[in-house]
């Protein structure tokens, strides 16, 4: 009966709001009203409060009015007889719950700054609780939400009956590509996250099994993540609560899985989740709410058996997940991409500097390929079945060459590198198999668990065969895989491959925007950022760094009605700034009228919009007459006076923001990088790690531009993080930007 849920939830909300008020008053006493409060490294303050109320909580006393509001939202408790309608009031109580819990968690960051592993993605040692995801994580993971590799999350509360069930359910959720956000124990006992650790399951952002916190209140980290997605990718303004909630209902496929006895405070949180369109699927026989309306389908479904729980949750949430059907003896899902094979797990590895290893995808004639044929030439992993794990560096190491041969009428030479690049994540999706790098710098590790379950090198071929067909079936007909571990044969393949890689690089380097038509659109992110559209050119890859022009073309061939469409350039409006009639028309239509024109090569007038998953953001530096760029892995202050995350808030969501532009790392060394604004010579600051990452090509470009000293003239955080700090340096090294014409 809903009445029980409403009554309990409203009671729970009273308790939670009362507790938060108490914590707030204690903190006020202890730290004073002006003490800064924040979740770590975020531009969204306390995100639920910021999103729903539009109130940025910056200092302790800002919480006062928020808690007043939470108290005013608490409805009368539900009467036993002749109750007044409770659905709407109970949802309000749920929202009050979240406001209060966010305040309480923020106070915890003051009281105990080390309570959570701030900014960490992985869990190690005894401490497991990660707390609020910072914006770096949110954006990085957000990309997966945007491109569909992660359709949503399960907010897990409580504790499964045993570790085995917990591990099995976590695995099922991972196989459905979902994130698992874990909060709260049960009745004083450790919760789901600890159960996973005890069962030897790797948890952390990298395996999508995220331990937020041990208390119920850490549910707000899940909901805050969703609220930020609506603001950063959906371009919804803080305070536009209805749009934020509907965005979540329609686009974030999340749900709540409470394990065990549901107490009043859990109910209060459940009511809050329902407000966001996230239904509750419980293992215990709590009352159900089946009529639809606030969520897409049912609101609360209960008494679901453990073997049905995930399937039921996905159905209730209205989610369609394509589950990969790969015939291998271990689990297979994007959720395992970030999983590590650690030293106490490792039984064998290939490459990584210890042996030669290479992977290559090439085209053959139709009659040269037997579809599905997988051949292992040399020793296989069965040598290590049952073996003990060995420390890194001491494990058996095999040479390895993976040669994938495809054939088909639609196959083109240009698709080879695209298909080849898939090998990294396709192999990584296998549980217990770790794949790093590409081409001739690959490195594979195999875990004891995987090998003991029967994983053999031939399964790499099974994965490639199944997934190539599933994802790229339109562009080839047959695929066969040869896997060499014989040292001599590996060397032979290796040498041949290196030659092929060189040829490819030269061909791609030769492509220019001027000689290429059409360009390609990318509206992949419109599932999250409905007004944004990317235009991808050979010299300006997608701002996420994931889609080059060739990728887009291949994607179009594979799915002609998909998110990547050819866009003829049409008449050139402005060669220097990169503006074309055909592109403008397309952008106007695809952005639903939001953007009517844009410059591909400038950030000064109408720079391209961003969904929110940009690798870097460039912006102008008025004092030094230049620009700076910062990548999303750099969490500190920049000379723009803002952190990446603050800038991201301004640039994302399909907004045109003159002076700022989101871009890929690769674009920095493109000949078209802000060409109309003076190009690479304008670049005065970037984080040192980013500079190192692109150094090789930066040197080439600097020479090309006739400023060979440039790499050393660009300041980084070691020189300074304010414009005033870096300016003397720029003057000293005579940075070329200082002598360029004024930016504006």
């Amino acid at each position: 009966m809903s009445k029980i849920i409403a009554a309990a939830g409203i009671n729970g909300a009273y308790t939670i709001v009362g507790r938060a008020r108490k914590k707030y008053e204690e903190a006020l006493e202890k730290y004073g009203p002006d003490r800064e409060v924040a979740f770590p490294n975020t531009g969204y303050f306390l995100p639920i409060i910021y999103g729903i109320l539009g109130v940025p909580v910056k200092k302790l006393s800002d919480m006062g009015p928020v808690l007043d509001r939470a108290e005013s939202l608490l409805p009368p408790r539900v009467r036993q007889t002749h109750n007044l309608p409770y659905l709407g009031p109970a949802l309000d109580a749920g929202m009050a719950t979240f406001f209060a819990e966010e305040c309480q968690e923020a106070v915890r960051y003051l009281d105990d700054p080390d309570y959570y592993l701030a900014g960490r993605e992985e869990v190690s040692g005894g401490a497991i609780w990660l707390g609020a995801a910072d914006d770096v994580i949110m954006r990085k993971r957000g990309v997966e939400f945007v491109d569909g590799t992660a359709p949503g999350f399960a907010a897990v509360l409580g504790r499964a009956p045993n570790g085995e069930i917990a591990a099995k359910i976590a695995q099922e959720l991972q196989e459905k590509n979902l994130y698992v956000f874990m909060s709260s124990g049960l009745g004083g006992k450790p919760g789901f996250a600890e159960q996973l650790v005890e069962s030897g399951v790797q948890i952390g952002w990298n395996t999508r099994l995220v331990p937020f916190g041990p208390d119920t209140s850490s549910v707000v980290f899940s909901i805050g993540f969703a609220t930020r997605a609506a603001m950063s990718f959906g371009n919804i303004k803080p305070g536009d609560f209805r749009k934020i909630l509907i965005y979540n209902k329609d686009r974030i496929f999340a749900f709540v899985l409470p394990f065990g006895y549901v107490d009043e405070e859990w109910y209060a949180n459940a009511l809050g989740a329902v407000n966001f369109g996230f239904p509750v699927i419980a293992d215990t026989a709590i009352p159900q709410i089946l009529p639809t309306g606030v969520c897409t389908y049912e609101h609360v479904v209960s008494g679901v058996g453990y073997d049905q729980l995930v399937a039921k949750a996905v159905e209730v949430r209205g989610l369609k997940v394509k589950v990969a059907n790969v015939p291998i003896p271990v689990s297979y899902s994007p959720a395992y991409e970030g999983e590590r094979v650690r030293k106490d797990d490792l039984v064998a590895e290939c490459g990584g500097g210890r042996t030669q290893a290479v992977e290559l995808t090439t085209t053959r004639e139709m009659d040269e390929v037997t579809d599905g044929a997988v051949e292992v030439i040399g020793p296989d992993l069965d040598l290590y079945a049952g073996a003990k794990a060995t420390p890194v560096g001491e494990s058996p190491a095999l040479p390895l060459a993976i040669v994938v041969e495809v054939a088909g009428r639609q196959m083109q030479k240009d698709f080879e590198p695209i298909l080849e690049r898939q090998l990294h994540h396709l192999i990584n999706y296998a549980q217990g198999v770790m794949h790093i790098g590409q081409r001739n710098i690959v490195w594979l590790r195999f875990s004891k668990q995987a090998v003991d379950k029967g994983f053999r090198l031939g399964h790499l071929g099974s994965i490639i065969h199944a997934k190539y067909h599933e994802d790229f079936g339109n562009i080839f007909d047959k695929v066969q895989v040869k896997i060499y571990t014989d040292e001599a044969r590996v060397k032979e393949v290796y040498d041949r491959a290196v030659g092929i890689f060189r040829e490819r690089d030269e061909r791609i380097e030769g492509m220019t925007d001027e000689t290429t038509d059409p360009f390609y659109s990318c509206t992949l992110c419109q599932s999250f950022a409905p007004n944004h559209v990317c235009i991808v050119t050979p010299e300006r890859p997608g701002l996420c760094g994931a889609y080059s022009w060739l990728d887009c073309r291949a994607s179009f061939e594979i799915n002609p009605t998909g998110p990547n469409q050819p866009v003829p350039k049409g008449r050139t409006i402005d060669e220097l700034y990169g503006q074309w009639e055909g592109i403008n028309e397309f952008v106007a239509k695809a952005s639903r009228g939001n953007v009517t024109e844009y410059d591909a090569y400038s950030l000064m007038r109408t720079p391209m919009t961003s969904c929110g998953c940009f690798e870097c953001i460039a912006c102008i530096m008025p004092l030094s007459n230049g620009v700076m760029t910062v990548d999303r892995d750099f969490p500190e202050m920049t000379p723009a006076g803002m952190k990446f995350t603050t800038m991201a808030g301004m640039v994302g969501g399909g907004n045109v923001t003159p002076g700022f532009v989101g871009h890929s790392k690769y674009y920095v060394t493109s000949r078209k990088f802000l060409r109309a604004d003076g190009g690479i010579k304008r670049l005065v600051w970037m984080p040192s790690r980013l500079k190192e990452e692109i150094m090789e090509r930066l040197i080439v470009r600097a020479k090309e531009e006739g400023v060979p000293e440039l790499p050393d003239q660009i300041a980084d955080e070691r020189i300074g993080t304010t414009e005033e700090e870096i300016l003397p340096f720029l003057e000293e090294v005579e940075h070329p930007a200082l002598s360029l014409p004024p930016l504006f």
């Binding site: 007044l84 659905l87 949802l91 309000d92 359709p151 639809t292």
Partner: protein, 648 residues
Amino acid sequence: MADEKRKSIDPAVLTLVEKAAADEVMLCWDRLDEQSPQCGYGIAGVCCRNCAMGPCQINPFGDAPQKGVCGVDAETIAARNFLRSIAAGAAAHSDHARAVVEAFIRTADGEIPGFEIKDEQKLLSLAMDLGVSIEGKDTAAVAKEVGKTLREQFGRQDGELAFIAKAPIKRQELWRAQGIVPRGIDREIVECMHRTHIGVDQDYKNLMKQASRTALADGWGGSMIATELQDVLFGNPVPIVGSVNLGILEPDQVNIIVHGHEPLLSEMVVAASRDKELLALAKEKGAAGINIGGICCTANEILMRHGIPVAGNFLQQEVAVVSGAVDAMIVDVQCTLQSLTDVAGCYHTALITTNPKARFFGARHLEFDEANPLVAAREIVTIAVENFPNRKRKVVIPTDNKTDMVAGFSHETINYILGGLFRGSYRPLNDNIINGRIRGIAGVVGCNNAKVTHDEHHVTLVKELIANDVLVLQTGCSAVACAKEGLLVPEAATRYAGPGLAEVCEAVGMPPVLHMGSCVDNSRILMAATAVVKEGGLGDDISDLPCAGAAPEWMSEKALSIGHYFVASGIFTVFGVTWPTLGAKHLTEYLFSGIEEELGGKWAFETDPVKTARLMIDHIDQKRHKLGIDKARERVLYDMEKRRELET
């Protein structure tokens, strides 16, 4: 005299009918007996006394005479009578509205002590609807302008009534295409009187066009203005618990019944009854307190906003006095029986009229003075208190007959209870209509009629509807009837409603029958229907909705006006008891069928409440079929591609 049991299904009424007989007091049922048999021509609607060559009557069975002296036929006579009734009904609602507008403007001017703008939010949204700019204005200034704009609705001569724009776009276009958009409220009513004068409009279809235009001037004009401004003045109702039936009379307290339709004075009487001095006076007179109860729509108004108990509906006004426990009965306008002077005369009850438009010969008149309403209210309460010791006959209060209910469902409140402050919307309602848990929506409204067993048709019809998963919206005496039966509490869902409706009621915590207020508040039903249309998924006009209306025990001309604005708004509407055009074959066929092609709604007449329910449910099922929601649907599962296709 007919069997006592047949007069009412309400034991409280039956107890007091018995007492009345013992006390030798004549009641409406006795007078109905005396009146019977009633004139057949009048019943069939074919008696014309609009000129001094008449009265003329047309033989409804086809024999002579078939024409009146002027040559008029049955169709025209019945149509003219029907139109005049609608004019009278619309006039009643709209003149009530006019009084509210005037009080509203004077309130904005600060001229009525005790009155204030209680719901600023609603005022602002009204201002938006009316295109009144709110920039840089304080509440009083906005209110003045809103009041002025609404006052103009009565006297305007051309253009369109402002609230027409609140209807679904498609409905507005249909009205324009039919030429029935009302220009000004008073103008339409005047035109009715003109057209029905001898020798003017003699085409029943053309007369019915004016009927539609006038009725719309009521539903989307007078009634809506009254509701909206009363909400701004006295507060938009929110769910509240109240109790109903004559058991609410207190043996040891001063009992004051407020009866009629306008909330202006009764609001003040409620305030005065809480006055310390008057309470002290009551004590002095030997009373334990002052108890207010309402009858008819005054009751509904103060119930919705204050939870003041309801003593009863239309046919309970005489028996309330018969209890011997009513120390004063205050009446204003509409549906107050002249016999009250006679009945009150048999007991100690002070009958006080308060409205200059509505005086009773022989009753005490205490005019409601807008300049100082609390003074009038205090005077009235003082009279009642001082009358307390004068109870001279045996007091019989049916104490067991008192039922609880949950009332207070404005269309805004429904929006709130379905999603709260952050997600408020009609989505859950629409969703559950689409998925079939709720089969449809019915508006069951209207009066009592002494010709049928009191309350029986309301209660039977509504029980049948909710048992078939139809959510029922109610106003007026019909709501009171069902409240007494215990249908207006959330617990009624599990007891009486079908499984689908019960499940939704349980999810929301609402009764299966929603009390939306007084009879001017039928405009709330129009707004609720419009909100359902606008929420989407159930067509784009009110006439697409799986909904129907009924007034199974109607008697007043206001009911005809309401019924016709339901029809003209696209709603299938069934009336019981009697039908006023039965002597005119073509007109009746037109109203029961042909008019649907033009308006999307039509009339029906059915005296059996179960059959009435069947007609309504069949209609709802047809609409569901047309919408394609009569079959089970597959659950849609969303992948990324589907999400990209979502509108922003």
